[in-house]
Symmetry: C2
Subunit: 219 residues, 2 copies
DNA sequence: CACTTGCATATTGTATCCAATATTCGATAT
DNA sequence: ATATCGAATATTGGATACAATATGCAAGTG
């Protein structure tokens, strides 16, 4: 048949829609650490019953984005400096490995996309812009690795710390430094120097870690 | 007060109980790949309504242990040889890193526990025994790293592939080889040789990977 | 006034019921 | 005989109603 069709079976359930919306709100920091998620309130916002809301909250809990206590409800999960330090170490380990696997298989199209995100990053005006473009830039460089399990773990880890990542970018020297280091990583990819790209990625992440921790402790 | 008390708030909800039971059934292979999870059936088994069953299934889905299709339901998620290969690579990367961090902080008590699991492993009679003791052995060696995020990711990864891990152990040369390699890893830990323990752990996991893949392809 | 106790209210957990969709199976037509 | 259609059944998704628990407050007690 010659009809433009979409697979209706893939339309999202109410639970999925609510989950995505809440996840976005948490990731972008619109819901602060410790903020409670009231089922009734959310249900009214989405004009549904509490059932899909509960399923959405269950998903968020599995992702580690909220913590729930029985009969008390869910609150947005914060992150301690120690946890942040560990998660940045984890990122350096996994993202370094993945980019090393990706470089030999990296298409020209990928490199072009990466460069466009890099430009959008340096032209961004708000923390949300910076965070979005920063994430797009990194993710695209990992994609051609074809390591889907690794990629999934990285996604979940980034979701978990996105708020803090944005905060780090917004620090005084965060943006300029990120730009410089992104440029170097991309250059290594373009030279097809996988080892170097991996090394630069690890340094980039670990540098961001110390930068962030210095500031977390200062407060 | 002098009363033996338990924190009732920590008693599990119906959804959690069902989740744990289903997870166990999937991990131990009692539910085969592709087996459907009928909400009504499970609800009757646990003498509850379908609501907590659905929450349990959404938890399983977030863990990647089942895949669901709207209005069609959930089935146990299988794993392709490619995915298996990638996940074993991931394990080698992360578990190698974690054991290296753990060795310098490893307590004598941990080493004793590890040795007891090793003995129980070699004396086990069934695939379930082998799998349990194997997992206990590895997990205890990682614990003293204090890297909770890494440990959580490792747990989830092992849950995802536990069935295949058992299968690999049950292969002709699986047990003897695992025993030999475990012994070497533990010896390195006892010598406080972190680098060597990490290297042996990586080899152990990657060796199991090729062993498993040879057999997956044979079928 | 500090402290407990009991009640009213708020919130979450679960059961029951209805709606939406998928699947099975038989009847019919070609 | 095979394919197609449609009704009956099975199954999941969601709304409503009720039960269990937590929280805040006011009255009572010392």
């Amino acid at each position: 048949m010659q009809i433009d069709s979409i697979n209706i079976a893939q339309t999202a359930s109410a639970a999925t829609i609510i989950y995505e919306a809440l996840k976005k709100a948490i990731i972008e920091g619109q819901l602060a650490d410790g903020a409670p998620l009231r089922q009734d309130e959310i249900a009214k916002m989405f004009n549904t019953s509490r059932i899909p809301v509960r399923e959405a909250i269950t998903m968020l809990e599995q992702q580690g984005l909220v913590v729930t206590q029985r009969y008390k409800g869910a609150v947005v999960a914060g992150i301690s400096p120690d946890e942040a330090a560990e998660i940045w170490d984890f990122r350096a380990l996994v993202e370094g490995h993945v980019i090393e696997a990706a470089v030999p298989r990296m298409s020209d199209e990928t490199l072009e996309l990466a460069r466009s995100y890099l430009m959008a990053f340096s032209e961004g005006a708000t923390p949300v812009d910076w965070g979005d473009q920063n994430r797009k830039f990194h993710t695209i460089l990992y994609r051609d690795s074809g390591l889907f399990y690794h990629l999934g773990v990285i996604e979940k880890t980034l979701d978990r710390v996105d708020r803090y990542l944005r905060a780090q970018l917004a620090l005084s020297n965060g943006l300029a430094r990120a730009n410089r280091e992104h440029e170097a990583i991309l250059a290594a990819c373009e030279r097809r120097d996988a080892t170097r790209a991996a090394e630069l990625t690890r340094q980039h992440i670990l540098g961001a870690k110390t930068n962030l921790l210095d500031n977390l402790r200062k407060r």
